[in-house]
């Protein structure tokens, strides 16, 4: 569960990125976070992942209070999250399998756990037959599936996808979104940050719209027109 209570964020250069955000995302939800560039979407993601600290307010992520989290607890908090990036961020010189095992070893999983878990996750994203391929040998959509598999492999409570379809054509984008929906159906909370209105509007999900550091709309089954909601 994620809980923002009156959160403000001001960067060192004086930019006020968030101006009193109140947001609650419960376990099992599928939420689109939408808004134009510079609206504060990335700041929300960075706050959730603990990359930056907040200036004012309260923030809870999967049971961790990020107001007074110790540096030792940050990695443990991050293990409850699976993060997907627009540019996939796969390691080119590692195979699909190795990219996944790398993520598992990073949190100290044993080789036995790695061998058991990866085939299941690859099957879930439909890439079980491409485990030995390198990222450069895969299409953009397949690379993003690998990134989703990597986010899932450590069995997180929540998947955060930051513009996951930004580098994909509409058909592949829809496939990725349907995959995320399927993952949500299996019980994982999903937060998708995007500004692709057509994609958002194809799904009947909760849409949280943000603009100029403020939430301007929060509606289940909401509609996003790319300008004012």
């Amino acid at each position: 569960m994620i809980r923002f209570i009156d959160v403000y964020k001001e960067y060192d250069n004086g930019t006020k990125a968030l101006k009193g955000i109140n947001l609650r995302i419960d376990d099992g939800e599928f939420v689109f976070l939408v808004g134009p560039s510079g609206s504060g979407k990335s700041t929300i993601i960075k706050l959730i992942t603990g990359e930056i600290g907040l200036t004012e307010g309260k923030l809870m992520v999967n049971g961790y209070s990020l107001n007074n989290i110790s540096p030792r607890q940050v990695p443990l908090m991050r293990r409850t999250l699976g993060i997907i990036f627009q540019d996939f961020r796969l390691i080119d010189k590692k195979t699909v399998y190795e990219n996944l095992s790398f993520a598992m070893r990073a949190i100290g999983a044993s080789p036995r756990d790695v061998k058991r878990r990866i085939p299941y996750v690859l099957q879930l994203v439909g890439l079980e037959h491409k485990a030995d391929r390198y990222p450069g040998q895969l299409s953009g959509g397949e690379q993003q599936r690998v990134a989703i598999a990597r986010a899932l492999v450590n069995n997180p409570n929540m998947i955060i996808a930051d513009e996951p379809t930004g580098n994909l054509d509409p058909h592949r984008s829809l496939e990725i979104m349907m995959l995320l929906e399927r993952i949500n159906d299996l019980g994982t909370t999903v937060l998708v940050v995007t500004h692709e209105k057509s994609l958002v509007n194809r799904f009947t999900k909760r849409v949280v719209a943000i603009e100029d550091g403020r939430i301007i709309n929060d509606e289940t089954g909401g509609y996003y027109n790319g300008e004012k909601v």
Partner: protein, 296 residues
């Protein structure tokens, strides 16, 4: 599911990184070898000087002459007072007759010495000192004892050896410190390069929830391997160079003034010091290099 210390993973990543940055690893090992070789060479010179100084100290004695008016019994009675002086080691009494015999030894053909009376020389004490650096102070204290007419000590030779030893030790400390800093810098840069090369992987690891320790260990292992390799190469190079140099010294040492210790008598101590120094340089260099990168 999580394990606390994945030794196999750290070692394999550390080894892999060394070969990925082959040139920098080679440069780092060379720097450690150079540093340890210079440190070792100066230490060997210092150890040998110390050994020679020890021999000199063993042979080093000064003479205290007894007042001519003292009888032999009165002169012998002074021994306990001399032995009570600090830094005085072994003390031997030599009568004037024995001293003359010693003087005549090897000069039997000289007719001028044949009829010399015993009274020409004085009764004396041969006094060994524990610390050659305090030779002058000790001899002066002995000279102040009532009944001692004069002392005769070779201050210059003793001071010369002490000065050479101190200079060698001072130069060794300065050079070793400088080279250790340079080695640390090179190792730190090698590790920084490895870290920079793998920054994407590290960012991914952090996002997955890897702890700083998990990220740091492969780099520490890399530093340890580089340090250990440098130490072993330096040790065997040092051995070879020492054998060559000591052979040359022995061949050209007609007067046998210089004695050289065999390397085998110092090998274990040197191996231990080299390995500890190499590991320290490697580990400290790695930790310094990655400290600031782990703060996100």
């Amino acid at each position: 599911m999580a394990r606390r210390f994945d030794f196999q993973y750290y070692c394999s990543e550390g080894f892999h990184s060394i070969f990925t940055h082959g040139f920098m690893s080679f440069a780092a090992v060379c720097m450690i070898v150079a540093c340890l070789l210079i440190m070792g060479s100066f230490s060997l010179v210092a150890v040998n000087l110390n050994h020679m100084l020890g021999d000199l100290e063993d042979d080093n004695l000064f003479l205290a002459y007894v007042d001519e008016s003292y009888t032999e019994e009165e002169a012998r009675a002074l021994q306990s007072q001399i032995e009570a002086v600090p830094n005085v080691g072994q003390v031997a009494f030599v009568t004037r007759a024995e001293a003359l015999d010693d003087f005549r030894a090897g000069r039997e053909d000289n007719p001028l010495l044949a009829d010399l009376p015993d009274e020409v020389l004085r009764d004396r004490f041969e006094i060994h000192v524990d610390d050659i650096e305090q030779l002058q102070a000790t001899s002066e204290q002995v000279d102040e004892i009532t009944g001692i007419a004069d002392v005769n000590a070779a201050y210059d030779i003793a001071q010369g050896f002490v000065m050479v030893r101190n200079i060698a030790a001072g130069v060794a400390i300065v050079l070793v410190t400088m080279l250790a800093v340079v080695s640390l810098f090179i190792i730190a840069n090698t590790i920084k390069l490895a870290f920079f090369y793998r920054r994407e992987e590290i960012a991914i690891m952090k996002m997955c929830g890897a702890t700083n320790a998990f990220i740091r260990w492969p780099f520490v292992v890399e530093g340890m391997i580089l340090g250990m390799t440098g130490a072993l190469v330096a040790f065997f190079a040092q051995w070879g160079i020492y054998e060559l140099v000591s052979k040359a010294i022995i061949q050209n040492n007609g007067l046998s003034l210089i004695t050289v210790l065999p390397f085998t008598s110092l090998a274990w101590q040197f191996l231990l010091v080299f390995i500890v120094a190499g590991l320290l340089i490697g580990v400290v260099g790695s930790v310094l290099a990655i400290r600031k990168f782990l703060q996100v």
